[in-house]
Structure formats: structure tokens, C-alpha cells
């Protein structure tokens, strides 16, 4: 369980913006929290998986992928902003994220 600080919020946002800018070959200034990951960026589940792995390593998270999958079924993510919020919840609650609801 990590305390979500302004520094972590900033880091997560930066990582996600830079990730999509590079992966989707989109100028970073064209990405906002309202950008739709599928329709605007042509994103896919492999990108989602890769981002999870990035954050697992970066913050040494103890979380199983299937726990995230179960959470995502109930709380589907469509926009970059929603994805940032989900990643912050994952960092904060790790494997307890399902109990957070």
C-alpha cells in the first residue's frame, strides 16, 4: 500500500502520456485526459498489459494481473484520465483493489 503523493500522480501521468505518444506515434500535446484510448489512439489490451508491467516494476507492486482484470471488468476504462486514476488505485491498493469498491 503506497501513499499517493503529488509526485506519484505526476509520475504516473507522465509515464502514461509518454507511453501512448510513443506507442501510438501521436504528438504528446494531442493527448489529454479526455482522449479515448481505443478510438483516438487505436490502443489495445497489450498496451494496457505493458503499462501494468511498467508500473509493477516501477513501484514494486504486489498485484496479480487477474485481480486487475476483475477490477477492470467492473470499472472499464475508456479515457487516458480514467486509466491514470485506475493506475493510481492499483499503486495505492495493490491486491486489495477489489476490496476498495
Amino acid at each position: 500500500m503506497a501513499q499517493i503523493t503529488d509526485k506519484i500522480k505526476k509520475e504516473v501521468k507522465e509515464v502514461i502520456y509518454e507511453f501512448f505518444a510513443e506507442e501510438c506515434e501521436t504528438p504528446i500535446e494531442d493527448i489529454s485526459d479526455k482522449t479515448n484510448i481505443i478510438s483516438d489512439l487505436d490502443g489495445d489490451s497489450l498496451m494496457f498489459l505493458e503499462l501494468i508491467e511498467i508500473f509493477k516494476k516501477k513501484y514494486s507492486l504486489n498485484i496479480e494481473l487477474k485481480t486487475i482484470g476483475k477490477y477492470a471488468v467492473k470499472h472499464p476504462v475508456k479515457t487516458v484520465g480514467e486509466l491514470i486514476n485506475m493506475q493510481l488505485l492499483i499503486i495505492e491498493h495493490e491486491n486489495n483493489i477489489l476490496n476498495f469498491e
Partner: protein, 298 residues
Amino acid sequence: MIQKQAFLFPAFITDYTQKELELLSGNGIDFNVYLKTASDKLGIVLPKFSYTEEDFRNDELLAQIIAYLFSCAFSDLLKKKNIKPSFGAGYSMGIYANLYAAESISLEEGIHIIYNAFKLVNELACSGKYGMGGIIGLNVDDINEIIKKSNSNIEIINSNSEFSHVVAGTKNDVNTVLRLATIEGALNAVELNVKTPYHSRFLTVFDDRFTSFVNTIVLKAPKFPIVSTFDQRLITTSDELKKELVFNLTSKINWYKTMQVLLKNRVNEFYECGAGKDLSKIARFIDGDFKFSSIYKI
């Protein structure tokens, strides 16, 4: 420092970069010549190629043909640039383009093999009873547990990485397992646009017939070793290639292990010989010190 290079050949094209034709024509390679060769060999007029042409996505034979043609054109481009691989590996039906790149067969012979393999297994596709699915986010044990509990008539036929797998079998059971996989926490579980349960036990009935066909064709020894996706052995002879063609159609494959064997053989630079970027995307989840070099930046 680059130690060894490998060419990888995709099976189908999920998404084009939409820069493929420009890349080829910019390097003096006319893709229409490849299309015409295929048309002549098949004895049908192929639809004019466009990135959005539905026939090249929805028609299983044409989807294989177009993937093969692009892969052959890309390997010709690499050859033109004097890039020679130490190894090759073909993802599923990507094996045919691998044989072309390794100079075991001609472009026409590849079309001939693809057509005959397709014709042979097409009775399964025509029944509409079979399908395939992709599951991301669960491991092999998780998926096998779902298959066992639901008593489903399907199996994992390929692993791309620890958390990315392909299943094949009866269509209803594929859909049941995909639905249960989502409930169990798969990040994505989708039916693939394929009506043939490639690499599954349902294809073993074609072993003998496909072996008989393969024995009618002439394969030259490959110019570079090809890693088997069936058992990851290094193939260097035409006899072994023939065996591999049969394994590749009718048995389970394992792309994850294939990539690991390439890495163990000190490959640290890969080229994806084909349209789209599917294989480089999959490779992001394979540990190792390697890079995918973009054909677009040669």
C-alpha cells in the same frame, strides 16, 4: 553490439501500419507483381489490394495469402539491403514466408502449399463449428483450470508469452471459455476471425493427408536455420522442413519458447518480415536483451 539477427514472419495481419506499400515502392519493389503471381497461381483474380479491403481480412485463404505476399516482399527488401539473418522463425502460417526467405521454395510454391493446406482443412472451416480465441492476462494454469471446470472441448494451442495465449476448438466452447476467462480476470478475451481450429487436436486427422501432399513438393535446404515453433529444434535440412510443415499445421506450437530459443542462440536483433507490428508487440513481454529493428528505418 549486434551478435546475431533473426527474421520473424507473422501469420495473419491484424493491423496494417498503412505504410507498407509506400515502403516497398520507395525501395523499388512493386507489390502488384506479388499479387499477380498469386492470382496466376491460384487461377483467380484477387481483389485489388487496399488496407481496408474486407476480403483480405474475412476470407481465411486470402488473409493467409496477403500476409504471405507481404512477408515475401519484406524479406526481398531486406535481401536487397544485404541484411542476412542467422535464423528464421515463422509464427504459425508464417512458416511459408520463412521458407521463401530461406530460399527453400519460390513465391509460387508457397502459394501452392498455402492453397493445398487450406483446401485440406477447409471442411472444418465450412462446418462453422470451430473457432479460435485470444486470452490476455491469465497464465496457462488459469486457462487450463477454466477449460477443465467448464468441460470445454478446446485447448491452448499457442503461448505468446506468460500472459498471452491462443485457444482453439469448438466454437461454442471457445466462446464459453472466453466468457469465463473475462470473469476470472483476463484483461482481454476475444474470438479470433478464424473458422479453422489451427494447431489443435481437431487437425490431427489431416496428418496423413497433409504428409502425402508435402511429400509431393520439392523443398531445398534452407539458407539459414529455421527454429521449429512445434518443438524449437533447429531445422537445416529439407526432410526436417517437410516434417515441420506437418507439425506446424496439425500440432500445438509455442511462440514464447521459440523466441527464448532464438535468444539462447545469441540473437539480439529481430526483423519483423511482414505487414503490421504484431510480433514486435508480442515480444515486449519476453525478457531478454534484444531489439526489434524497424524495416521502415533501414
